[in-house]
Symmetry: C2
Subunit: 343 residues, 2 copies
C-alpha cells in the first residue's frame, strides 16, 4: 500500500497492479483497489498447471514460483517488478525504457542483481522456461533471487544498459556499509529497499511527533527514509484502512491512533495492510507496464512458504509483520495464551 501510494505521489503514468495471496482480508482488498488499477489474487501453491505440479515436489521454491508468476501477465508488454519493502522517492517511469532483464546490483554479491526491482517482459514462453529452470537447477539461495540470477546468468557481463543504477534499488544495508558513498550518491535515490530482517512495519510510529520508535540499531543512518515511509503510511494509508475496516478493529502500528481515528487497537487482523505469509504485486502500465512487490521477500533469507515453523521462526515472522493472523497467531489463540498467563 505504501509503495503504491509512493508511486502515485510521484505521478507515475503507468498502470499499477498488486498481486495478493489468499489471506488478505476484504477490507484490505478494498483499500488496495483504491490505490492500484488492478488487484490480482494468486493462489500460491495451486496454480493448476502441469509445470507447477512439477514444482510441487519442491515446496521450498513456493515463494519463488509465486514471484515468477509475474511473467504470465501477458496483457502488459513491459513491466517493472517491485518488492513490497521498497519505497519510491522520485518518479521512475524511465525504467520502462530499459529491456529485460534490467536490475541493480546486489550489495552482498555485486555480480548478482537484486531481485527487489527489475524490468521484464511478460511472456508465457519465458515463464515456462523459468519453471523448467527451477525444476532442473533449483535456486542457489532458496529464493527467487537465486533462480533469476541463474536464469539471467549473463547479467553481470553482457550489457551495461541492463545494469540499473544502484539508486533504483538502494538497499538500506548499503547505507551503513559504506556511508561516505551514500552521502555522495544517496541524495539522488529513486527507490529505497528496506532489506534485512527489520522492516518499516517492525517499528512503531507516533503521528503527532512524527517519530519512529523501536530498535533503531540497523537503521540509525537512514531514519529519514524510515520516517518518509511512516509519514506516508500514517497520513495516507491508515485513513483508508480506518474507512475500510469500519467498526472492525485493526492494528495500525501507530501509537494513540485510536484517539486520532476513533478506532480501537487490537492485534486480531491484518497488520499495516501487509499480507501475512503471502505476497503481493504492483503493476504499472501505459503502453504496457507492470510493477510487482512481495511483502515476505527478503532477497538473502527467503523462507520456504509452507514449511513447518519453529517457535523462533514464528516469533521472527511476527516481528516482521508476517504473523499468521488467521491461524496460530489469531486473536482467539493469543487471548487464550494471555488468559492462561494471567491466571
Amino acid at each position: 500500500m505504501v509503495l503504491g501510494k509512493s508511486l502515485r505521489n510521484h505521478k507515475t503514468t503507468r498502470k499499477l497492479v498488486v498481486m495478493i495471496g489468499p489471506h488478505v482480508s476484504d477490507p484490505c482488498k478494498g483499500v488496495l483497489l483504491k490505490i492500484f488499477d488492478e488487484v490480482l489474487l494468486v493462489d500460491v501453491l495451486d496454480s493448476g498447471d502441469s509445470a507447477n505440479l512439477a514444482l510441487m515436489k519442491r515446496p521450498d521454491l513456493g515463494v519463488t514460483f509465486t514471484k515468477l508468476h509475474c511473467w504470465t501477465l501477458t496483457h502488459y508488454s513491459k513491466c517493472v517488478f517491485m518488492d513490497a519493502d521498497t519505497l519510491v522517492v522520485q518518479n521512475i517511469d524511465e525504467l520502462f525504457d530499459r529491456e529485460e532483464l534490467s536490475a541493480a546490483p546486489d550489495p552482498g554479491w555485486p555480480d548478482c542483481f537484486n531481485s527487489g526491482v527489475f524490468v521484464f517482459r511478460p511472456s508465457n514462453e519465458t515463464y515456462s522456461k523459468l519453471l523448467q529452470y527451477c525444476a532442473e537447477h533449483g535456486s542457489f539461495d532458496g529464493g527467487d533471487q537465486g533462480v533469476l540470477n541463474g536464469f539471467f546468468g549473463n547479467w553481470a557481463t553482457a550489457d551495461i544498459s541492463k545494469h540499473l543504477p544502484f539508486i533504483y534499488n538502494l538497499s538500506s544495508i548499503a547505507i551503513y556499509t559504506y556511508l561516505p558513498a551514500f552521502k555522495q550518491y544517496g541524495g539522488n535515490a529513486k527507490v529505497v529497499h528496506f532489506l534485512g530482517q527489520t522492516k518499516p512495519w517492525s517499528y512503531t510510529y507516533d503521528p503527532k511527533t512524527k517519530r519512529v520508535s523501536g530498535d533503531m540499531q540497523e537503521t540509525s543512518t537512514h531514519t529519514s527514509f524510515l520516517q518518509d515511509w511512516w509519514f506516508l503510511y500514517s497520513s495516507s494509508v491508515v485513513p483508508m484502512m480506518v474507512e475500510g475496516y469500519g467498526d472492525q478493529p485493526f492494528h495500525s502500528g501507530c501509537v494513540e491512533v485510536h484517539l486520532e481515528f476513533q478506532s480501537p487497537v487490537k492485534e486480531n487482523c491484518d497488520h499495516h495492510g501487509h499480507w501475512p505469509g503471502s505476497w503481493s504485486q504492483i503493476n504499472s502500465h501505459k503502453e504496457g507496464g507492470w510493477k510487482g512487490s512481495s511483502s515476505s521477500h527478503d532477497s538473502h533469507h527467503t523462507e520456504p512458504y509452507m514449511s513447518p515453523e519453529t517457535s523462533e521462526e514464528r516469533k521472527q515472522k511476527w516481528e516482521q509483520g508476517q504473523a499468521d493472523y488467521m491461524g496460530m497467531d489469531s486473536f482467539d489463540n493469543i487471548q487464550k495464551k494471555l488468559d492462561a498467563f494471567l491466571k
Copy 2:
C-alpha cells in the same frame, strides 16, 4: 610479501614491483628483493613535484596521493594494482587484456568499484589530471577509492568490459553477507581481498597444527582463505625473514616459531614483513605490466597518513599489524611500560 609469493606460485608471467615507504627495515627490503622484480621506495609526503605541493594543503589525502603515484611508472605500458591485503588463488595474467580503468564492484556501494584491484595505464598526463582532480574535488571517502571513483566516474554505466568479475576482488565481507552466492560462485575465486578491520596478520598461527587463532567472528565463513594466507606466509615468507634478519629478533606471528626456526620471538621490529604505517606496491610486467599493493589501505576506512593519533587509533593500528615499531611502539618503549606496570 604473501601477495607476491601467491602471484609467483600461480606462475604469473608478468613483472612484479613493490612500492614501499621509508619505514621498511633493511632485512625486509632484502626479502622483498627476493620476491619482486623491482622494489620502489616512495617518500609519501615529499615527492618534490609542484603538483604534490598543491596537495600538501590536504594532508588527509596523503595515502590517496601515494596510491595515485602508480600512474608515474611509465616504463610499463599496462599494469594491475593490488592492495597488500589481497591474496591470489589462481593465475590472473588475463587481467592484462583489460583496459583502464577496469575494476570489480565494491560490495558496499556496487556502483563504485573497489580500488583494491584495478587495471590501469601509467601516464604522466593521467597522473597530473588525477592530482588536479584531488585538489579540486578531494575524496568523498577520504581515501583513494573515493578519488578514483570520482575521476573514473562513468565506470558504472559506460562499458561492461571494464567491470571485472567479482571473483577478481572477492571481498571477504561479501562472503558472510550473502553466503549462498559465495557457495555458488566463490569456488572460482581468483583474488581474495581481506577487507575490514581484521587482517590476516591480526591473527596468530600454529605452523604445526596449521591452525589460525584469534577473534574469528568476522572470518568464521572464510577460514580456508585465511589458512591459505597463513600457510603461504609461514612456509614461504617466514623462512626468508629468518634468513634476512639473521641474529636480529623479529616477530613472525606464528606460535612457537622460535622452536622451528631457532629465532627468538620479540615485538620490536617489522611485523610479518608488512610495512607499518607506510605502504607498498607490487608490479607485474612482460610487454608492460604492473601490480601494486597497500598494507595500510582499507577501502572504507582509510586513515589520514600523518594525522596525530589518539590512543584508540594507535591501538587499532597495532591490532591491524601497523604498529609504529620504530617510534611510539618500539621495543624499548613497550619494555618501559611493562616495567612500570610490573613494579
